[in-house]
């Protein structure tokens, strides 16, 4: 029996090799369980032939290795075998430490949901060699902005546009929704295709472990390769402050659904990239010093995106003209974005975006309680902090056009009296603060915010 047939019995996960083919502009990432057939993932960086630019060969090789090691997480998690083996040149201590962190924290929710403890399983082998510090490789002044189809990256686009940043909008995969958002932005575009090994699906059918993986870490590594190939000296993600907060702590281990969007990941990853891949490649999140609510407020006036964007996790792969095709109305993302936009938009416009009024649906009471973090832990989704939801809800209590809606009235009556009135103001949540890695040229980007 192989691990393909009985995934949970696998003993060793091998990182076999990674290569790049200029003719198809594709990277092939190869993995294997035990002595099973190889699992091959391909990532295509352009529609046409694309050579590695001269002078960037070493940087690209380092980037590709990093991508190979990080993208392996999708396959590793299918079996979480006791052993990890990296074929080829040994890892150095810094890289092994980065990978240990990404695998352990990035699979935190996965482990929690499956009742697994990965702390004694994840250990990337390494030796004592110390690699040379990465050089500058002549990357031109241009920023790659990954677009997710939700509000955050569109806010980044407009902030950077106002700061006169030269930009390329990029996305991984074939989502027509993201393509539509990119189209609206009017920016130059770079679409990257990713083909997961079909054997992984077979393993899933045969009872592999399944669950959340840190997709932002994988996309970050893909974009590092893309930046070197296409010539960009910055990658600007759109993760805000609250992405750093944990959903729950279990046995002393903080589980954060969006760990690869946290500042911990950002710090570790950007540090590694600038010292071990290319000294002139900057990786940062443009929205880090903002709360979800502050980002939402910036998004509210961007009406040009209102009828194309969606943050919904369930419907977002399918594009449609009708709101119900873009917003399922049932998932925490739909609930949070609706609530977070409500203080900043006319009610008529907000309900038109969603095609319904989620705050007048009494059956969603428990779901909104989870957002408010009253009597439940924060949902495993990329949503804001409980106090942001509470402040938004409290703002609606003061608005006559919202006050009688089922969930606002319920909050008013049952939850508000239990809360500390001093912690419900919106204004403190709009502040620009906390650690971030924005480059100096963008330091004044938020000055216009009141």
């Amino acid at each position: 029996m192989s691990a393909i047939d009985t995934p949970r019995d696998a003993q060793t996960f091998h990182f076999v090799r990674a290569g790049y083919d200029a003719k198809s502009a594709s990277a092939a990432l190869v993995y294997r369980f035990d002595d099973d057939p190889e699992l091959i993932e391909t990532i295509r960086f352009a529609d046409t032939e694309l050579a590695i630019p001269a002078g960037r060969e070493a940087a690209f090789a380092a980037a590709l290795r990093l991508l190979h090691l990080i993208a392996g997480i999708s396959y590793y998690k299918a079996a979480v075998p006791p052993q990890i083996a990296v074929d080829g040149a040994p890892l150095d201590a810094a890289l092994a430490a980065l990978l240990d962190e990404i695998y352990l924290h990035g699979l935190g929710e996965f482990a929690h949901r499956n009742g697994l403890d990965l702390r004694d399983r994840i250990e990337f082998p390494h030796d004592a060699h110390v690699p040379d510090v990465a050089a500058r490789v002549g990357l031109p002044r241009r920023t790659l902005v990954p677009i997710g189809g939700g509000k955050d990256s569109l806010v980044t686009v407009e902030l950077l546009r106002a700061a006169h940043e030269p930009m390329t909008a990029t996305w991984v995969g074939r989502s027509p929704l993201i393509a539509a958002c990119v189209e609206r932005s009017g920016l130059p575009r770079l679409n990257i295709e990713r083909q997961i090994s079909p054997l992984l699906f077979e393993m899933n059918r045969n009872g592999a472990w399944n669950g959340h993986i840190p997709v932002t870490a994988i996309n970050s590594a893909i974009l590092v390769c893309a930046a070197i190939l296409h010539g960009h000296d910055a990658i600007a993600f759109s993760n805000e402050r609250s992405a750093s907060s944990a959903n729950l702590v279990r046995d002393g281990f903080a589980v954060n659904h969006q760990w690869s969007k946290s500042i911990d990941f950002e710090r570790a990853f950007r540090g590694y990239v600038s010292t071990h891949v290319a000294a002139d490649l900057d990786y940062f999140s443009a929205l880090r010093p903002l709360s979800e609510l502050a980002v939402t407020r910036l998004f509210a006036p961007l009406t040009q995106y209102h009828d194309v964007f969606s943050s919904c996790n369930r419907n977002f792969r399918i594009l449609g003209d009708k709101p119900a095709e873009r917003w399922c109305g049932q998932c925490p993302k739909c609930h949070f974005v609706f609530l977070a936009l409500s203080p900043f938009l006319p009610k008529t416009r907000l309900v038109a975006i969603f095609g319904r009024n989620l705050l007048d649906d009494a059956t969603l009471a428990a779901d909104f309680d989870a957002l408010l973090e009253v009597g439940a832990h924060k949902p495993f989704e990329c949503v804001g902090e409980g106090r942001e939801s509470r402040a938004a809800m409290a703002a609606l209590v003061d608005r006559a056009e919202w006050r009688e809606d089922a969930l606002v009235a319920r909050f008013h009556e049952r939850i508000l009296p239990l809360l500390d009135a001093g912690e419900l103001a919106l204004a403190p949540l709009m502040s620009v603060d906390g650690p971030h890695h924005l480059p100096a040229r963008l330091a004044r980007m938020f000055d216009a915010l009141g």
Partner: protein
Amino acid sequence: MDPALPLAPSARWAVLKFGGTSVATAPRWRTIAELAAKRVRAGMRPVIVVSAVSGLTNQLQALIDRELDAAALASETAAIRERHLQLIGELGIEAPTATMAWLDHLATLVQQAPLRRREFRWQAELMSMGELISSSLGAAFLASIGLRCQWLDSRQWLKVEPRPNQSEWARWLSVSCATRSDPARVAALAKTADCFVAPGFMASDSDGATCILGRGGSDTSAAYLGALLGAERVEIWTDVAGMFSADPRQVPNARLLSRIDYAEAQEIATTGGKVLHPRCIGPVRESSVPMWIKDTQRPELDGTVIGDDVARDVLSVKAISSRRGIMLVSMETVGMWQQVGFLADVFAQFKQHGLSVDMIGSSETNVTISLDPTENLVNSNVLEALCADLAAICRVKVIGPCTAISLVGRGIRSLLGKLGPVWNVFGAMPIHLISQSSNDLNLTFVVDEARADGLVPRIHEALVKGGALRADDSRVFGPSWASLYRTAATSPPEWWRREREALLRLAAERTPRYVYHRDTIRERATQLRAIAAVDRWFYATKANAHPAVLRTIADAGFDLECVSPGEIEHARATCPDARLLFTPNLARQEDYRRVAATPALLTIEHLGSFAELGDLLRGREVSLRIDLGSGHGHHDKVRTGGAKSKFGIGVDQLGEAVRQAQEHGLRVGVLHAHLGSGILDAAHFGRVYQDMIALAEQVPSVRALNIGGGFGIAAHPDDSALDLARVAELLATIKHAHPQYELWMEPGRYLVAEAGVLLARVNAIKHKYGRSFIGLDAGMHNLLRPALYDAHHPIVNLSRLDAPDALRADIVGPICESGDVLGGERALPATSVDDVFLIAQAGAYGAVMASNYNRRAAADEVML
């Protein structure tokens, strides 16, 4: 007339309006020129009213809405200039001086954007530029091909008439105009040219400043000019040949409205009809100028004529229209019963905030009104301010977004008796407001927008079937949109027409008798298997379990779905190689025990089963049937999802089901939902598939999704066939995004319904109270569907297949039940006792549902 001579001064005026697409390319301008020349040859003096080239108005609006720096502004104007220069080049004319001057003026205005962006006067002037440019260009082109054509400045004719309570915004950007005609001035204008091109969308105020008519402005310009010039008619040239009984994008079988009066046209436009803006009817109505709606691409089609000359005695719903984004404001008195002046107080607030109220519903202590989603309501905080003020005098609640669905027709109150089928469509859906317009022109239902999907087509169908929309009355209704615009799918004649002789021979042997056609079953199977996204097909054997039918379907690559141990045993005996899926409903433990001894995959559909069956099935994979909470289908009794349905477990019970499965050692490998049957809407299958994926993502052990069947068959003449290609495309898109799940489907009826007919013989014919009954030897004991589901089956007199229709009769069976009607009020040829009748589409749920009620014998079954 001689084209070399100018038109006589007495020549009648015709106003022709063309939209943005029609003026954006050279070939479309040549079409306009031809139509203008044709009017001149017919002795009419055309005025061509034009919009800006397509997309330009939105582009200009964006310059108002978005802050751009000088470089970006300059590149916008350069692009606009370039686009028009290219069009001028394609038209083969010299760049007209006037056009170039307008383009320069546009550049100057755009440069002022950073300073004047918020100024309404500047906005109005900027917005008018697109039409000024296109009309000046068009006038030059028409002159270049030899027409005595001049540019006509509409602003000299359309004079703003201020409205009371008008906002500053509306005073510049949504104005109304006077319609008083000045014959002397018209006569003077007539002397200057044979043909004019005029910019739509604009007027001028008493100071001569440019103002904008707002949305639908060019149609309204044409209507005003028609009224002012006393035109013979106003022709609106657009992309569709007129107004239809419903939006053809939602209802392909919507009928063309050949002739309607102004009031009805206005009502259709006001309640959501998209073809005309409501504002453009008023001017032509006041001056009794007929308005034509014509298709630019298909000028030969008759289109719609709006005017006084219509048949007023046709009592019919003319159209069904809908509007989205409606907001309701519900106001509850906090004061006393019979409080004096409450309505006056609340309405004063609406006036104060410049909001126009549309519908009103009131009770002793509550008044609820509707607001249309105007720009003001969507983009400003007016609703917030209004509610803040209202809250001081009442309890206020804002409900929305809602969709208002209106049935439009003169004398709608007299049609209530025929609206029964419409009430059924609404079913238990919450309706927030019903409004019966006081002019007796419409009946409007306001429902949640999220629930309104698909309502319009179903209501249209109910109106036609109930006889409230008299689609057969050619004085009002023309052909359907589908017949005008869809390349006629030449569906081959039904198989039983080809096999008529053989069928008549079989009927001579005995009746009633079911006959099945193997090739048709195979054909349907092939069609379904072409849907590549589906990995495994099951045939729902309950639809027709005749052994020859089962074998034909199994041979075509289908596995079998069974709902009882009896069906399982029958399927195993008939098709030993087929894989089996067991999907019972509220079955006893013994049923599961019997089937568990076979290799069939078992479906669990209630929580209690886990405890009962855990030991028996430990370690096995099971399928879990989910009720997604909303059903679909052609009749309440075939909807198998929703709170009232007895099938499946609730979505809210999924977590508990998975927990119990784990506890009892069962693996939930398949999720299954089946929401109904007879579904003709392709999008439905995509929705179910997506819903299932969202659920499957919560259950890691799931490897396959069974989204049921329900492929509908067009039974009624006004049904559109289900678009299988669209279903295939939709499923493939979703499959591509979620390749980790196998996709299963389990059609039943689709495979066999059309392949089966029921043959019967006429027992007796009777006439009573003006109604005719044809009594067959087959009845509800043979074919229950008409009685059980109100199902419609095509019925023909097979003995006289091609004879002309001569009577309308109810076709009934011999059972002593008033519900024993196989088909009501069918048109038939002259019929005699012993004629052979054929009841079509009887292959599914026919013989399998037979009973021996009244001790009448069952029909036998024959495979052809």
